[in-house]
């Protein structure tokens, strides 16, 4: 058990450390969350710069735009780049989720065409699984792909698509046969987001932002060459993508702790530093051990992956614990501030209104990528091996499953 690099790893770390020092932007004191489109342009520029230097997708093969190195090199990169202000985690869904799908299912020619510009973020990808009536129950999706000669015609609606408004391509899961079991009637494709029949509509969030989108498909035609995997093999392909997602987002999720620590170190109430208040200290201790535990648990997972294992469903715990504490920390900070806590003006509110912004954004983080309940189910069934609930949809064809005829 040690945190030391091998000589080769140490050399690599030194190399990127010096490259970053010369090329990356230092963390500034303030900052706060940038406007969505500014952040997007910054991120595209940064990814291109990284790719030009040969550091894009370190663990991808070189012919697909990667560096041909190991997962551990990627971890070292993440550790070092975390010291800078660059938007290094921006295209995590496109590259982390869509990349492996293309890598695994596309033809060699497609891979050579599609992957290098994905790695450098010259083309941007999104992932389209969720639908209005298929949230926690992803396999309840209804967007149809109907074969028409060598083409597929797509109709339906996706929702909660991160970054669809900026995307050139998307990976999409469709129902190709509603008359058989829901898990066997799905197929995965990719699609050009700028083609006819595809319309992207941003969703206004409760915090006023619009990070997510609805995507409407109206007789959108794609060639069969855009199919990823077998017809009817969509669910298996989706599980592969979701498993890679775990690795991609491991340790990236905000849990709100660093900002809370900062608050405890700086805030005075009635002239007393709150760091001396045992009630505040008790919260700090509890949130710290959760924060530290998530981090250490991620390191355990990365060690296992480095030894050739797959990222386990244990990763769900980081999302579950981190997302809840992120919200509760924001609320607690606001409560500590009392009357002033409700004010959102960045020039008045502590840490540029970080806690006020977070209290409004954090409910979405608890939902995105699976609710608390989905995370607990994943842990109970996939880690602990507990039995599934009796399934109301078991043994039924998709179009026979009770749905209450819900509209969304």
């Amino acid at each position: 058990m040690d945190f030391k690099d091998s000589p080769e790893q140490a050399a690599f770390r030194a190399e990127i450390r010096s490259w970053l020092q010369a090329n990356a932007t230092a963390k500034s004191a303030g900052g706060g969350r940038k406007d969505q489109s500014d952040a997007y342009e910054d991120a595209k520029a940064w990814y291109k710069k990284v790719a030009d230097a040969g550091y894009a997708c370190l663990n991808w093969p070189k012919q697909y735009g990667g560096a041909g190195l190991s997962d551990i090199h990627k971890v070292i990169w993440s550790q070092e780049v975390a010291n800078y202000a660059e938007p290094d985690g921006y295209f995590v869904i496109g590259i982390g989720n869509c990349g492996p799908a293309i890598m695994h299912f596309a033809t060699e020619e497609q891979k050579q065409t599609l992957l290098p510009p994905m790695a450098s973020a010259e083309t941007v990808w999104c992932q389209m699984f969720s639908e209005p009536s298929a949230g926690s129950d992803v396999a309840g999706l209804r967007t149809s792909a109907i074969a028409d000669g060598d083409n597929w015609i797509i109709n339906g609606q996706k929702i909660w698509t991160s970054g669809a408004q900026h995307s050139d391509y998307g990976v999409i899961l469709c129902r190709t046969d509603p008359t058989i079991s829901k898990y066997r009637g799905m197929t995965m494709f990719f699609i050009d987001m700028n083609q006819p029949g595809v319309e992207v509509k941003p969703i206004k969030q409760m915090d006023g932002g619009a990070h997510f989108n609805e995507v409407f498909f109206n007789n959108a035609v794609i060639p069969d060459a855009y199919r990823l995997g077998e017809v009817g093999g969509g669910w298996g392909a989706a599980l592969l993508v979701l498993m890679n997602e775990r690795l991609a987002i491991a340790g990236v999720q905000p849990d709100g702790f660093p900002e809370f620590l900062q608050l405890v170190k700086t805030l005075h109430i009635d002239g007393e530093p709150i760091s001396a208040n045992p009630a505040v200290r008790e919260r700090l201790a509890e949130w710290y051990y959760k924060h530290a535990g998530i981090k250490a648990s991620t390191n355990r997972m990365l060690t296992a992956v480095a030894k050739g294992g797959m990222p386990g469903a244990e990763a769900a715990l980081g999302k579950l614990v981190g997302a809840v504490m992120n919200q509760d920390i924001a609320d607690y900070a606001i409560q500590l501030l009392g009357d002033a806590g409700v004010i959102c003006e960045p020039n008045i509110a502590e840490q540029q209104a970080h806690f006020q912004k977070t209290v409004l954004f954090s409910p979405g983080i608890r939902l995105a990528g699976g609710t608390d309940e989905v995370m607990r189910n994943v842990i109970a069934e996939q880690v602990l091996g507990l039995p599934q609930e009796p399934r109301a949809d078991k043994g039924l064809a998709f179009n026979e499953i009770p749905s209450g005829n819900q509209s969304r």
Partner: protein, 361 residues
């Protein structure tokens, strides 16, 4: 023992509920938020016409002279409907501080205008960082996070006098010496403003209670009334979560039939029911002006804050992704929960007060 509201009071509540269901659906709240108008003037006029601001004002000052219990049932409905009106500022706080701290003559002068709705009042006595000083009947300094500061006609402001003692002053907010700036806040349907005073004329409230005692008394009363607003909000959030999860299907069955969702809703109900029961006890203590009020008010407040945070945030979660949209109303309750919880000082402040009073009891 009769630990319930009377039939008359329940009738008032039913009427309030019907009126607000009709006149204050969420599009009214959204209109105020979207236009930054501060309040819904039509709704406020209806509320005045129904005499609600006059409920706790004595008859000799133009009020209805009813008990606080009537105010409690109305608070529940205002909370349930997220009414975007200056009722908290003007009635629970502005009116009550005048009743507690103004002289008989001042009350005779100021209360009738509040009872009739001619004047909207607010208070600027919170524990914010800004400060005010008074000297020679003029005020200087600033106050932040003043509730409905941009639409109120008058404010009662806490300031230090020449002897460095805390006093309360009435100021006319239309006076041109005052600079008033709207502040963005978590709940724009209960808007806040910064007030900057520059040699602003001010009238000292000259009742017999000290400013500190009067503020404490008014905060205790308001704590009970806010607890009822919170209970109303909790009930609305529970109803929303129940309706949505009952209608929506996943895995071939109603979402509300999953035990994790049922238990989430049960926990919301339990928190709400504790808050409601504590609010009832506060209502009794308030209406009886009982010595138990101090502890009962802090208990109702803390219980109400915890319940509303829980119910409003888990209502979002029960709605899944739709709960996170601007379009659905979940966030309106969540925002209101934040706004109500931070008024009069937040949760830790009131917990500490509760314990002081419990240990002294």
């Amino acid at each position: 023992m009769n630990f319930d509201f009377s039939d008359d009071q329940k009738n008032i509540q039913d009427q309030a509920r019907s009126m607000l269901a009709k006149e204050c659906n969420s599009s009214v709240v959204r209109q105020v938020i979207d236009t930054n108008s501060g309040f819904d003037e039509a709704l406020w006029q209806q509320i005045i016409a129904l005499g609600w601001p006059a409920i706790s004002i004595p008859e000799q000052h133009g009020g209805l002279g009813l008990s606080y219990l009537e105010l409690c049932v109305i608070a529940t409905e205002l909370g349930r409907s997220l009414a975007p009106v200056p009722f908290i500022a003007s009635v629970y706080l502005g009116t009550e501080i005048i009743k507690a701290a103004a002289s008989e003559q001042q009350q005779a002068e100021w209360l009738p205008e509040l009872a009739s709705g001619e004047v909207i009042s607010t208070v600027a006595i919170g524990s914010d960082k800004s400060s005010c000083r008074a000297s020679n009947d003029t005020l200087n300094g600033s106050k932040s996070a003043v509730l409905h500061g941009m639409i109120a006609n008058r404010a009662i402001v806490a300031a230090s006098d020449e002897q460095d003692e805390l006093q309360l002053y009435l100021v006319d907010l239309h006076h041109n010496s005052i600079q008033c700036t709207t502040q963005n806040s978590l709940d724009p349907s209960l808007p806040r403003a910064e007030l900057v005073f520059n040699n602003t004329p001010a009238i000292k409230l000259s009742g017999t209670l000290s400013a500190k005692a009067a503020i404490s008394r008014v905060f205790d009363r308001a704590a009970v009334l806010l607890a009822f607003e919170q209970v109303g909000g909790c009930e609305a959030a529970i109803d929303m979560a129940k309706a949505y999860t009952t209608d929506r299907y996943a895995f071939g069955r109603q979402v509300a039939s999953f035990q994790a969702i049922k238990h989430k809703l049960a926990d919301m109900f339990v928190a709400k029911e504790l808050a409601k029961s504590n609010a009832y006890y506060g209502a009794w203590a308030l209406s009886a002006d009982a010595p138990e009020l101090a502890l009962a008010a802090a208990t109702a407040r803390v219980s109400g804050i915890d319940a509303y945070y829980l119910c409003s945030k888990e209502n979002i979660q029960a709605h899944g992704g739709m709960g996170f949209t601007w379009e659905f109303d979940c966030h309106l309750y969540y925002r209101r929960a934040q706004a109500l919880s931070t008024l009069l000082g937040g949760n830790p402040y009131w917990k500490s007060l509760l314990v002081d009073r419990l240990l002294a009891a």
